[in-house]
Symmetry: C2
Subunit: 387 residues, 2 copies
């Protein structure tokens, strides 16, 4: 193996496309320069289809976590009640952020690896109809579950007047999102997942209904104050120095997505999910989530009781192939494969083949070729029927 | 002029050195990868000399403003009193941040373009000795004043028990800083000024004395919680996804500074300041600040009553040469030249020569060659005596 030729198949950060890398090499410009202002205004609009919104998308120089916190501090006043659905490490992060602020928190725990069911959420909210906001995770990065956000949002609107606040960090740009149609109020994401950029940019779409709450919310905030960004976006600029090189890259990412067509991007991610799942399953390894709630961007694989998950992850690393481990109580119990952003079906074949090699080296009961054959069949089927 | 061959001489963002650009093109890595952890731990230590501290420097994925806000929310509890010295737009930004939080604020206004004098600060603090923190600006980017931070810190320690909190955004990396020796408590900076990186990273040094206050401060914060970063730095990692590509760049920036020698970097900035000031003065234009309090990183030039500052800035832009305008009440009244980071004395010659051309085109009373001759003399003198 060439140590420098490593494959990065973790659920973010994801590899940077060469043309995006090249775009980020443009000479630096001033952030108050008209060139920068025009770029910011256009990016804010062009991000809309990825969120499924006609609202301008706000851009922040920060990790995704800051945008999650922004969703909290902009909408909830001290003393407010809120509900959070926790089904993994990132639902838990919302919970941790909420716990720092003086908010009465009602937490609904869903077993990690499962999705929150609409009827289950309805029963929970019937007991807490007074909450001002419900916090959800679209793709739970720590398990690879994609929640049925449209259905869950409908339940929230039926049972409460709460704002629907969604963490879309590890899927927006790779899955469908219908922010306006589903009645979401805040949807945040980060740059380093399906958006194929280095980490350091985050984004939020905000509904008119959320703005009414935000405008009246007395909680102090400055860098993360959505209103300051809205005012500045209207003037085609940013309140603070934006991450200019990442914005150069974002413009190129959006050009790539527009050229491929966003619907095709979404279908590519679904195909990569099917290939990964078929391959893992045929290899005799165990998938963590059901097909119904599997995320098109990340797949979690369960290890056995002898620690095969970590053993596989480490053996893959020796093959210059990088997957992620489990988080919190799943540490050592699963490994996670990212298949999003600058990733295509051929990369998935490589992934499955390399996992077969690693598993065989570890003397796990796999039959060489079984996984890869199943993954190939998914790809052949699509190629025959669509192209 | 080649429109694409523009010179960026604004006080940040500043041009990126080619080898730093190249370093940022390294393939993306996972932020929980050992390679990333090692890098973060080393950067945190290697930044120390630039701040003048033995403490680990904390790194954030954000603009500098977020680090300014972090200094506020980490140290001041609701109801605390604080003092802020405002002598320009960035002192004013500290004031704006402080005003958002429930802090009783005592503001000392210093005329823009002047430095805060130690005895003046002493008199002010004698009236407000109970304040918990005093907020200062090292280089006031909006005017080009470098405050005598060491002397001011000594006054603060003599008159109060307050924390000394300093915005060093537009100078750290280009000027001397003695964080430990001066008894500073928090010193923050950003990546896009003397540190020669794109915007998107910010930094803070924190004193043991400040940590004692921070640990007991009940004010809620999450993304900007210094303690989370300290805990993670001790484990050689970061609490949230760091801006990996900018960290790649930072490692290269520090290598460049270490190769040149930080003392030489500081002297280069002083020379560029002297050349700029000599050139502007000899050209017959008016400098905004006195020699005593001029910043080695940015120089402000006053226009006449007919709007020559903006006219010059626009004429320079036609020459593909970019300087910055004035901010707030100085809008239209000054222009500002950045000379920091990846900038050398030859760039200053180019700057002075181009300003002469622009001024002559505008029929301002300049004698071609006078400014450039004065700037050259500064350079010749240094070359003869030092190299």
């Amino acid at each position: 193996m060439l140590p420098d030729k490593f494959r990065l198949q973790i659920p973010g950060p994801t590899p940077i496309p060469p043309r995006v890398q090249q775009a980020m090499n443009q000479p630096m410009i001033g952030h108050r320069d008209p060139d920068c202002s025009n770029m910011v205004a256009q990016l804010s609009q062009r991000l809309g289809p990825l969120f499924g919104t006609k609202e301008p998308v706000l851009l922040f120089a920060s990790s995704g976590t800051a945008a999650l916190e922004a969703a909290v501090v902009n909408t909830l006043a001290p003393g407010d009640e809120a509900a959070v659905i926790v089904s993994g490490a990132f639902g838990d992060r919302f919970s941790k952020i909420l716990s720092r602020y003086d908010i009465t928190l009602h937490q609904m725990d869903v077993p990690w690896g499962e999705a929150c069911q609409p009827e289950q959420l309805a029963r929970f909210l019937q007991k807490h109809a007074q909450v001002k906001a419900v916090f959800l995770t679209y793709c739970e990065t720590s398990t690879g579950v994609l929640h049925p956000i449209g259905e869950l949002a409908a339940v929230i609107h039926r049972e409460t007047n709460a704002l629907v606040i969604v963490d879309g960090v590890s899927c927006i740009g790779g899955v469908e999102s219908h922010f306006d149609e589903w009645g979401l109020d805040i949807l945040v994401t980060g740059s380093q997942k399906a958006l194929m950029l280095p980490p350091g940019l985050s984004f939020a779409a905000v509904s008119p209904r959320a703005w009414q709450i935000i405008e009246k919310n007395p909680r102090p905030r400055f860098y993360l104050d959505f209103q300051t960004y809205r005012t500045n976006i209207a003037k085609e600029t940013t309140p603070f120095t934006p991450a200019v090189s990442l914005l150069f890259g974002l413009a190129e990412v959006l050009a790539m997505i527009e050229e491929e067509g966003f619907q095709q991007v979404v279908e590519r991610h679904q195909l990569m999910m099917r290939m990964t799942r078929a391959g893992i399953r045929a290899m005799g390894l165990t998938l963590m989530t059901t097909d119904t709630h599997a995320s098109p961007t990340v797949t979690s694989v369960m290890g056995d009781d002898n620690g095969s998950a970590d053993a596989l992850r480490k053996e893959l690393r020796r093959l210059s192939f990088r997957v992620a481990g489990g988080q919190q109580h799943l540490k050592g119990k699963i490994f996670r494969i990212g298949h999003m952003g600058y990733c295509d079906p051929i990369d998935v074949l490589t992934t499955i083949a390399t996992i077969e090699v690693a598993a065989k080296r570890l003397e796990l009961p796999v039959q060489l070729g079984a996984g890869i054959q199943a993954a190939e069949e998914e790809l052949i089927y699509v190629s025959h029927t669509r192209n």
